[in-house]
């Protein structure tokens, strides 16, 4: 084995993760504006173009952005894998992803099918580079940590999700004509239960014990839960005839086990200080817990939108939002500190993490996020008169998040500007 190939630092330039993370709230802000523009009929049917546009602004614009940024950062640091040309590659992936999301959303809102063809070309290129790059380096990684295998499974699920998505986009653009109803369900389950859930789980296996100082997830849990979810999701695609009742029941049970295990760890954490990321983790797990119960409850099809809100905004966006409050202040501190050390100067003028983003700003944004989640859930469940306050709350929450991130970046630029003089 060649040990010199291993680098334990190789943290990429700070612009690499930050370009993704700063874009995330911008796309969510667009989604919120679109909610306000569309009005309460948004929640009448899951097939409305505006709802499809909003969903993808959140899943690709917010979630994929944060996840891509986090993977660009985490892979070199935790997996000991060097990524080549990180600035160039992340610029291409980020640029194409951003353009593709806008084209796709515009295609739905402006009823311009031709845009779907362009969107599928642009998004396809972005995802192909990302999946190829991450897959290659995950396979070469020396790490034996479960997170590596979870990321590989998540990436495979992403590949399936994107392939189906692109085929359907081309269908909308008039290139192919295929019956797509089964594909939509697959696209959804691979995207949400495959890519999003497995990736968040894999990351949580690392970061919850690390940063909240909890016990490790039990060995049996790490070994079986992720692979079982992956197998179920795969089965959904290969053997559609058995989808009936059994698979959703099993999936709900696995999701429930993950949520309960995480809550048990969080409850018994050894670090007792209040912490905004911890609150986001709790909200994510409570959302998942409620969702797993709803999954096996006899509900009308209209509950479908409420459940999707619970998963995307309640679970996934909460987990990602909470992580941003750890990753961004730490990266800013780390890069400022390294810069000072490289100049041979002792630290002192480097702000600590809580000076980069003050705890109370994170906490207030958490409250707005929580409030808007509750309002969105209620308004989708029939309390239509809450719709505008829900959309407005969501807009304010994402504006606040953007403001917190942009202030942190400004602080970084100000201090690194001073030090280079």
């Amino acid at each position: 084995m060649n040990y010199t190939a291993l680098s334990l630092q190789q943290t990429p330039p700070i612009s690499v993760p930050l370009r993704f993370m700063l874009s995330a709230p911008l796309f969510a802000i667009l989604a919120a504006v679109l909610m306000l523009y569309t009005g309460p009929e948004l929640f009448m049917s899951r097939w409305q173009p505006a709802l499809l546009a909003i969903t993808h602004l959140l899943t690709l614009g917010f979630l994929a952005m944060v996840m891509f940024g986090a993977m660009f950062q985490l892979l070199p640091v935790l997996m000991g894998s060097l990524l080549p040309r990180p600035v160039l590659l992340s610029s291409i992936i980020h640029g194409l992803l951003s353009l593709g999301i806008v084209l796709m959303a515009w295609g739905w809102i402006g009823v311009l099918p031709v845009l779907f063809n362009w969107a599928s070309l642009v998004l396809g290129t972005s995802f192909a580079i990302f999946i190829g790059l991450m897959g290659f380096y995950l396979l070469r990684s020396l790490s034996t940590h479960i997170t590596r295998y979870m990321m590989l499974m998540a990436l495979l699920a992403l590949l399936g999700t994107i392939t189906l998505g692109l085929l359907m986009l081309l269908g909308l653009g008039g290139w192919t004509t295929t019956p797509v109803h089964h594909w939509i369900d697959l696209h959804l389950s691979w995207g949400l239960a495959g890519w999003v859930l497995l990736l968040v789980m894999g990351v949580s296996y690392q970061v919850i014990p690390m940063f909240q100082i909890t016990s490790e997830y039990p060995q049996w849990h790490k070994r079986w839960i992720g692979i079982s979810i992956f197998t179920l999701v795969l089965l959904l695609g290969l053997v559609p005839s058995i989808t009936g009742q059994l698979l959703p029941l099993l999936l709900a049970a696995l999701v429930l086990i993950y949520a309960l295990t995480t809550m048990r760890l969080l409850k018994a954490r050894r670090r007792k200080l209040p912490d905004v990321t911890l609150r986001f983790w709790w909200l994510a797990m409570i959302s998942l817990l409620v969702l797993s119960v709803l999954m096996i409850s006899p509900l009308p099809p209209s509950a479908y939108i409420t459940m999707t809100i619970l998963f995307i905004i309640g679970f996934a966006m909460s987990a990602a939002n909470g992580m941003l409050y750890k990753i961004i202040p730490f990266l800013i501190w780390l890069h400022l500190n390294t810069r000072l050390q490289a100049n041979g100067r002792w630290q002192g003028s480097v702000p600590n993490m809580r000076q980069v983003i003050a705890e109370h700003h994170g906490y207030r944004q958490f409250l707005l996020h929580l409030l808007s989640l509750l309002l969105l859930l209620l308004s989708s469940a029939g309390f239509t008169y809450l719709y505008y306050s829900a959309a407005l709350g969501f807009l304010l929450s994402q504006l606040y998040l953007f403001w917190n991130i942009i202030n942190a970046i400004r602080l970084y630029q100000r201090i690194s500007g001073q030090n280079s003089e």
């Binding site: 630092q9 790490s143 050894r270 500190n337 600590n352 809580r354």
Partner: protein
């Protein structure tokens, strides 16, 4: 006992003192916080020294390499020491905001550092050093 087992265990024991120290400072019990801070500082410094003076040189000698992963680890040790100097000051001044801002930063730095050691570097040292690693550890007990 392997390097991985011994040193990972030492990380955990440092974590426990560290979180107790944070809690004591948060609740305003500065006497206890000061006491815990000294014992944390002592234990972590001992841990870092053992790596820098014994484990890393042994590993580098076997590997015939310097400037690889161990130099990154040494660099991060210096970053930790910088933060510990700031924390010591905050403890002396009983400045809770400053202390918690610095400990939060140290926590993340320390934890990602530990994860790299526990998941990659220590297992690699165990493979490369074999029983020589266990001999080093036995002198500490």
């Amino acid at each position: 006992m392997t390097i991985t087992a011994y040193m990972s265990n030492d990380h955990k024991s440092c974590d426990d003192i560290f979180t107790d120290m944070e809690s004591a400072a948060h609740s305003g019990d500065w006497e206890r916080a000061t006491q815990l801070w000294h014992s944390f500082h002592h234990d972590l410094e001992r841990h870092l020294k053992r790596e820098e003076e014994q484990l890393f040189p042994a590993f580098e000698a076997q590997n015939g390499m310097q400037g690889g992963p161990t130099s990154v680890m040494r660099h991060e040790h210096e970053q930790m020491r910088g933060l510990m100097a700031q924390i010591a000051l905050a403890v002396t001044n009983n400045d809770v905001d400053e202390l918690l801002g610095q400990t939060e930063t140290l926590l993340i730095l320390m934890q990602q550092h530990n994860a790299k050691e526990e998941q990659v570097l220590y297992p690699m040292m165990d493979r490369v050093l074999g029983s020589a690693g266990e001999d080093i550890i036995s002198t500490w007990k």
